[in-house]
Structure formats: structure tokens, C-alpha cells
Amino acid sequence: MSSDIVIAILMTMAGAATPILLAALGELVVEKSGVLNLGVEGMMLVGAVITVAVTLTTGNHLLAVACAAAAAALAALIFGVLTLTLSANQVATGLALTILGTGFSALFGRPYTGKSVPTVGSPFPAELATDPVWRLLFGHSVFVYLALIMVVAVWWFLQRTRSGLILRAVGENDLSAHSMGYSVIGVRYAAVAFGGAMAGIAGACFPLALTPQWVERLTTGKGWIALALVVFAAWRPFRLAAGAYFFGLMMIFEVYAKSSSSFRVLPSEFWAALPYLATVVVLVLISLRREGSSSAPACLGKPFIAAG
């Protein structure tokens, strides 16, 4: 493999990892507050279709991403009302949100099918990215940098701020947090809305950076990978970033392996199965270290009903 190919693989890997990372970061915060929202895929699709609609109507990418975040956050708040205020089952409601998002996006996206969406490029001047090695640093779409900034921001928020401490307290022991006077429901609403907004931005990556068009089910299950990744990363932002890039590399490795003669020793089905094989191996390794399972927020998925 020449260095050009290695750079190309790394570039494409960052692109593929980014939507998963963005969505998983949002879900990490949601789960840290003790809520399990399985509707990530649905919210991503809402974000994706809104992005396409706004981009094609106004041509303004920033507005499109903002609308995508807002719309997906709104979808998340529907989930919030049902599970937090009305104490509905979170697993069932989350799955319903995915179905709702899939259906809504398919219906809403009808007029936009079959149109090319202008993509967003790198935020840096093009001259910086002419050299292949510099391209690795400066040649990505703006989402790649945003996702990495958000990793640090989420870590800093959870570990270094008072609000982050409260959010974790709500997720670990909702009754104690409640008795100390914190609004458990209020914190969880905020977390759910943030998770929705992040999923919406993740959805926006697809039409603006990866597949410049709208088709039904555009995100092809990446929301589920994001959900798995949160567990995989044991609810830690930096491990989440590493996990997302690892998944991204596995997914991308397949497409390069299939088209390169160096990998012809094994059939293409093997490379297609590789991400899943790698997942199993990594999960086994993590569980051997006996720290994966104990790191789940204690109140994850349990409804909170304040007594009195």
C-alpha cells in the first residue's frame, strides 16, 4: 500500500466515523442522566431530511444544520414528554421514536428525492490542504472538527463542571439528587434535548458530507451503531471517540480492501464481516477487564416518579 492510499483511508475513515461519534456523544449525555433513548436512528433521519430541505430551499448550510438540530431536539422532546412526564417505558418509546423518525423523514423527504445537495468542505483555506499529509489535518469537512471539539466539550462538561456533576448525580441516584433539591426531570429534559440536537447534527453529516442527496433511510442503521458505541466505550467520551474511529476504520477498510489487489487472499465477504468480528473481539476484551459492565449509570432506563 502506498502512502497515498493510507492517507485516503484515514481521510475517509474520519468522514465515516463522524456522524456516529456525534450521535453517540449526544446519547452518552442522555444516558449519563439516566435515560435510555433508543430513537437515535429516527432523530438522525429527521436531522438529515430537514438539512436537505433547508439546504435546497435557502442554500444556507449553517441554517440547515441549526434547523436539523432543532427539529431532532423537538423529536427528542416528544420522547421526553412521554417517558419523563408520563413515565412511559423508555425502550418501547425510543423504538417508537425511530419508527416515527423513519416514517416522517420518508414522507417529508418526498419532494427532495433525486436532487443533488451542495456539500460543505473544510473550514480551512484550500491551500493548506494541497499537500497530502497536510490534507489529513486540514482537509476534512467541518463536521469532523466539530465532532472532535464536542468530545472535549462533553468530557469537560461532565467531569469539570458543577452542572455536569448534577447531571451525573441524577443518572446515578435520582432520589438523592431529588432530595438535595435538584430537578431530576428538568435535568433529564435538558439532556434528552441535547441528545436530540446532536443526533440531528449527525444526520446532517450525511447529505452535507457523505452522500449528497436525500433517499429514504439515508442513515442506513448508523444510529444503532452509535447506541452500541456508548456501551462499547463504557460511557467515556474519549474512549467513545477512539471507538467511533475504530468502527470507521473497520467500515472503510472493507471498501479499500475489496478494491485493492493486496487483499485478494480473502473473499470480500470476510472484509464485510470484519467490523462485526472486530466488535465481538473488542467487547470480549473489555469484559475480560471487568470494568465495562459496572460503568453503566445506575438509574439508566428507570423512570423517576417523585414521591409527594
Binding site: D4, I5, A8, I9, T12, A16, G103, A106, R110, T113, G114, S116, T119, F206, L210, T211, P212, Q213, V215, E216, R217, L218, T219, T220, K222, M251, I252, V255, Y256, K258, S259, S260, S261, R264, S268, E269, A272
Partner: protein
């Protein structure tokens, strides 16, 4: 037209069995009810679009006073398809088209239970007394685009992105490679599969990976226009529309397109059901009968290349050129077809090798 998707079918499925939902229509003119089962959406600008356009042409030709259609979209090639076919049959559809290869088992199963309902299986490989198969010789079109690709590539690296490794897809790649090497013996064709009929993200990533490795012309056998978009974005020499004209997605890069025309077949087969003359059959036509069309050539394709491509097309239509005429070697160097021989329509489905010049 009644348009259902998979989810509304779920809802009405149970109700339809119990309630005479469509009873009121039975009093009207005894319209023939025709069902279409699609694997994706009619607005995919590719495979499903082609079938839906064929349906519309059929409706226009026969008249909506004689026939009404139901389209069920997004039906996966799995056990759920069986339910969809059964429900269409139960709802009184007398002719049902399944437009994907993977529906075969389910069509045959349901067809046994509804002997008076006619089924037609697109790209299928087995018939029954009430199951016909119909297909188009896309490989004839691929011989034409292979000629264009062989003449226009600068890096001599071509690629063929396939969906699933079934005989039809493999033979498309073979036809493309054989034609390209006939005009340019130096080209190699990378054949890769995305292992799905629909996965735009993977198609895009695969296209980027190929371009990164020096491929400058990509042909595809997948359903949507993502690859032309990526090719346009990267500014490579060319791509080819598949199933439909995709020049809207790649105005500077689509060299030409292979266009599916199912209208003539649908019109003929619906008419035969109306006339009571439908019989078990296996239809497989190509360029000559208009089921496969070559789209307009991009302005950047030089006149001599267009002339050569049109010459290949005309020769195939006239029957003087066979896309699989020997001598053909496979990619290990073994001679598979002797000079003067061809791979005939029967042998076609059993070919399990790739032609010389293919890296797969």
C-alpha cells in the same frame, strides 16, 4: 393508482382479509387489478424508477378504465415479501409483478396457493404454470458502455461496482470488461460488491476508495445515483447511468447511461391477461426490442468514440456481434470460450468466472 408502503400494508393486511375493503369496486367495470412489488422507492432514479415508469406507460397504453394498479414499495427480499404477495393475491390482484431477484422463493410459494393468479418475476430463473420470468439483456448495454470506457480512460483503470454477486451482475461485469479490452487491451477492471441493492453510504465510500486508487471510470450495477454524484464531486473521467439517465447528478461526468424500458413488456403481458392468452413464459430481450436503451452521450465524448459505441450497438441489434463471442479467456488465463463460439442464453446463468482483465 393506490400506493402502499410496507407499513400501511401491515395495518390493512389483517383488515383486508376480514372486510370487503374493495368490494365496491367489484360492481364497476371488472377492472383488472395488477400489483407491483418493488424493493425500493419509485423515485430512486434507478431500478425502481424504471419499473414504475414502465407501469405508467402500460397504464397509458391500455387505459385506466381497464386496469388499475397497486404498488407496494420498500419490500425487503425476505419472509415479509411472501406476506405482501399473498395479501395482493387475496385482495383480488390477478397479475402480480415481483421486481427483484430475491423475491423468487416467495413468489413460487404463493403462486402454488393461488393457481388462478398470474405472477411475473423480474430477473428470475425459474418458471411455473402461473409464474413467468422477464428480464432484459443489460449486458448488451454494458458492451456498449465498456467500449466507451475503454476508449476514454486515461489511467487504464476501470471499476465496476456491483450489488450482490449473482450471475447477472457478474456477467454484466464480464460484458463490460470484454468490450473495454477489445478497444484497449491495457485496461483492467476492478469488480467490487457492496453486498446490498441499497446502501448509499457504502456506495459513496466504495466510489471514493476506487477513485483514490486511480480508477477514472466507474460503471455500476446498483440502484441509485450516489456513485455518479461522487464521481462528479471528484471530477474523474466518467461514470454511466444505471437503469435511468442520471445526468442530473453528474452533468459533466456521466458519459452515457443504460436505460431500462419495461413499458413494452408490461403492456404486452397485461394485455395478454386481459385477452386470456397469458402463458408461462420466459422473456429476455435487449437492445433490439428496446427494453434496453443507451442514453444520450455527454458532449465531452469525442465523435469517434460515439461512432465506435454506436457501431457496437448496431452490430448487437443486427445480431452480427455477440457480447460474449469467443475467444474469451478468464482472469486466470484459462480459455473459456473458443473462437467462433459464444456463451448462449442458457450457459449465461452458469458462468462462475471473470473475464481476462478483471480484478475481483
Amino acid at each position: 393508482m393506490t400506493q402502499f408502503n410496507r407499513r400501511t400494508m401491515l395495518k390493512i393486511g389483517g383488515a383486508a382479509a376480514a372486510l370487503p375493503l374493495l368490494g365496491s369496486r367489484a360492481f364497476a367495470q371488472e377492472k383488472l387489478k395488477v400489483g407491483f412489488v418493488l424493493i425500493g422507492m419509485p423515485d430512486d432514479n434507478g431500478w425502481n424508477y424504471g419499473h414504475d415508469r414502465g407501469r405508467q406507460e402500460m397504464l397509458a397504453a391500455i387505459g385506466e378504465d381497464k386496469v388499475e394498479t397497486t404498488v407496494v414499495t420498500n419490500v425487503p427480499e425476505g419472509p415479509d415479501a411472501e406476506r405482501v404477495f399473498r395479501e395482493l393475491a387475496q385482495q383480488g390482484h390477478k397479475l402480480i409483478y415481483g421486481t427483484s431477484f430475491g423475491y423468487g422463493d416467495y413468489i413460487h410459494k404463493v403462486a402454488k396457493q393461488f393457481p388462478d393468479v398470474k405472477f411475473e418475476w423480474a430477473t428470475g430463473n425459474a418458471t411455473a404454470p402461473n409464474v413467468s420470468i422477464y428480464n432484459a439483456k443489460f449486458h448488451e448495454g454494458r458492451a456498449v458502455i465498456g467500449t466507451v470506457a475503454g476508449l476514454m480512460t486515461k489511467t487504464n483503470k476501470l471499476a465496476y461496482v456491483g450489488s450482490i454477486p449473482i450471475p447477472e451482475v457478474r456477467m454484466g461485469a464480464n460484458a463490460f470488461a470484454i468490450a473495454a479490452r477489445k478497444v484497449n487491451p491495457n485496461v483492467t477492471v476492478k469488480v467490487v460488491y457492496i453486498d446490498s441493492w441499497f446502501d448509499p453510504a457504502k456506495e459513496a465510500e466504495q466510489a471514493r476508495a476506487l477513485i483514490d486508487q486511480g480508477v477514472d471510470i466507474i460503471a455500476q450495477h446498483t440502484d441509485g445515483p450516489v456513485i455518479p454524484q461522487i464521481a462528479e464531486e471528484r471530477g474523474i473521467v466518467g461514470v454511466f447511468g444505471q437503469g435511468a439517465d442520471m445526468s442530473a447528478f453528474a452533468p459533466n461526468t456521466q458519459l452515457t447511461a443504460i436505460i431500462d424500458r419495461w413499458g413494452p413488456h408490461y403492456t404486452k403481458s397485461v394485455q395478454s391477461v386481459l385477452d386470456g392468452t397469458w402463458v408461462e413464459s420466459s422473456v429476455w430481450d435487449g437492445l433490439a426490442s428496446g427494453e434496453v436503451e443507451i442514453g444520450p452521450y455527454n458532449a465531452k465524448v469525442p465523435a469517434d468514440v460515439v461512432a465506435k459505441a454506436e457501431e457496437v450497438k448496431a452490430a448487437i441489434i443486427a445480431g452480427t456481434l455477440h457480447p460474449f463471442a469467443g475467444p474469451i479467456k478468464d482472469n486466470t488465463g484459462t480459455e473459456r470460450v473458443a473462437a467462433g463460439d459464444v456463451i448462449d442464453d442458457g450457459e449465461f446463468w452458469g458462468v462462475d468466472w471473470y473475464a481476462e482483465g478483471i480484478e475481483a
